[in-house]
């Protein structure tokens, strides 16, 4: 098994007229936190949607665990252990936190087409679901409907639901966007803890948010990779600072 869980070769996506992502060669090392950052309009979200198969690439290939998943459907890729989160909170609003996690647990063990059996048969997952909720600090909210939770908790619930699938690679889309400071620290420590036995590719906007979190950072601007490296080297890199603060104008 190569030590890269995910690799892209010449990944490109053209929309009418201009290419949102052009010729991106990304390599995500196993059991690390890899951050994909860049200012607005850099093509982060397009890149993210290409990797999670919610968008079809115009050119290039995506290799996951040595397998070419370029043409695969989103649901199939999720079954291989590459699971994504969403920027706008992706929970099942009218299901309780426990039920949210259980929907994910249920898929793994196959009886999702059983229309003749009572759903109480799913109660055997409750214990694992409560453990996952506990992992993300939501054990007290198991029976609360997701819609009634504040934003930070919804984000934690989403991560618990993703973890339920025991994914190998978790793709997080701006997990800290729109959060207050105290929530950011909570989610950051949670991601750090998860990274111990999972690989995480995270799209984020700000440099310092990923500073103590990521092992490796790729900076995207205008759909292309500008620079790669760890936080220390990148903060010195003038091109990165300029990409963010922008070049002065004449």
């Amino acid at each position: 098994m190569s030590d890269y869980i995910l690799e892209t070769h010449g990944l490109t996506k053209e929309f009418a007229g201009f290419s949102a992502v052009s010729d991106v060669n990304l390599q995500v090392r196993r059991h690390t936190i890899h951050a994909l950052i860049g200012p607005n309009g850099a093509g982060k979200t397009t890149c993210f949607n290409l990797l999670t198969k919610f968008l079809r690439p115009s050119k290039g290939t995506i290799i996951y665990n040595g397998e070419d998943i370029t043409e695969m459907k989103p649901a199939d890729v999720a079954r291989l252990g590459l699971v994504r989160s969403f920027q706008i909170s992706a929970v099942f609003p009218n299901l309780t936190a426990l039920e949210n996690v259980r929907v994910a647990l249920q898929r793994e063990h196959g009886e999702s087409f059983d229309f003749w059996r009572s759903k109480s048969v799913l109660n055997r997952f409750n214990e694992r679901a409560r453990a996952l909720l506990d992992d993300v600090g939501l054990s007290a909210f198991a029976d609360i409907r997701a819609a009634e939770m504040p934003y930070g908790r919804k984000r934690a619930l989403e991560i618990a639901t993703t973890l339920a699938l025991e994914p190998e690679l978790m793709l997080l889309d701006e997990p800290m966007a729109g959060m207050g400071h105290e929530d950011i620290d909570k989610i950051a420590t949670l991601i750090k803890r998860i990274a111990a036995d999972h690989t995480i590719l995270m799209v984020e906007h700000n440099l310092n948010v990923v500073s103590n979190l990521s092992d490796r950072i790729t900076v995207l601007t205008r759909g292309q990779i500008l620079a790669e490296g760890d936080y220390a080297t990148l903060t010195q890199d003038e091109r990165v600072r300029e990409a963010y603060l922008g070049a002065g104008h004449a």
Binding site: A16, F18, N40, H205, R222, G248, H249
Partner: protein, 237 residues
């Protein structure tokens, strides 16, 4: 001299909601005639929502938005536009089913004194050859110029630009910077939302820092150097 004149735009206690999420928590700021004012802040702070609330294209809003002495908080967006407010959205909003010429001529003239088309072509020369090509077949930079050009024709004197430099090459950014300073020289009043801090620093007279849907600080352009550290912290760079 500027302090004496009444503000062109005066926003007080502005709250706004996207569906159920409460985005603006009481914005207070103003813009005087002829000024270029920039809203700074991190992603999700509510900068774009502020512009959209002023334009009246947000689900629910409360508070006061006075424009040239008119209270616009209750008005539908087409009535606000007719008061002389022009908006250039972050995603630029170029219509794919229209060609460049149709995109350019779409916004109706709401007041005499709009910029004549020849004048627009010398501000944005490369739009001239692309008139018949389809709206979205333009490059990012050309689309941004078209989005600015089409609101100059209408006679509106107050322009709201949402992240005009987003995703653009440095040389294009410089061209847009020159255009904005020429518009400022011609007496347009501009409210700018911009991530590209240095781009905004050279253009704006005053800055407001927005966080979690509120204005938390404000600087004049002269005070920038002194507050660089604080700004970096605010912008989380």
């Amino acid at each position: 001299m500027l302090e004496a004149t009444a503000p062109l735009l005066d926003v007080k206690g502005l709250h706004a909601w996207y569906g159920e999420s409460h985005i603006l928590h009481g914005m207070d700021f103003h813009v005087r005639p002829g000024e270029v004012v920039t809203l700074l802040g991190r992603n999700g702070a509510g900068k774009s929502t502020t512009l959209k609330s002023i334009m009246g294209i947000i689900g629910k809003r409360r508070g006061s938005v006075m424009f040239e002495g008119h209270e616009t908080i209750q008005l539908p967006s087409d009535r606000i536009a007719r008061l002389g407010v022009a908006f250039c959205p972050e995603e630029r909003g170029i219509f794919a089913s229209l060609d460049v010429k149709e995109n350019l001529l779409l916004p109706p003239a709401i007041r005499p004194g709009g910029m004549p088309v020849e004048r627009i072509f010398d501000l944005f020369p490369n739009l001239k050859e692309r008139l018949t090509s389809q709206g979205t077949k333009l490059s990012g930079g050309e689309q941004q110029m078209l989005a600015i050009a089409r609101i100059l024709r209408t006679g509106a004197r107050f322009l709201m630009l949402d992240e005009p430099t987003e995703g653009l090459a440095p040389v294009i950014i410089q061209q847009i910077g020159r255009t904005i300073s020429r518009l400022k020289a011609e007496g347009f009043t501009i409210l700018l939302v911009e991530q590209n801090f240095r781009f905004a620093a050279d253009l704006a007279d005053r800055f407001y820092v927005v966080e979690h849907g509120q204005v938390i600080d404000t600087f004049a352009s002269g005070e920038l150097e002194a507050n660089m550290q604080k700004l970096h912290h605010y912008l989380g760079v």
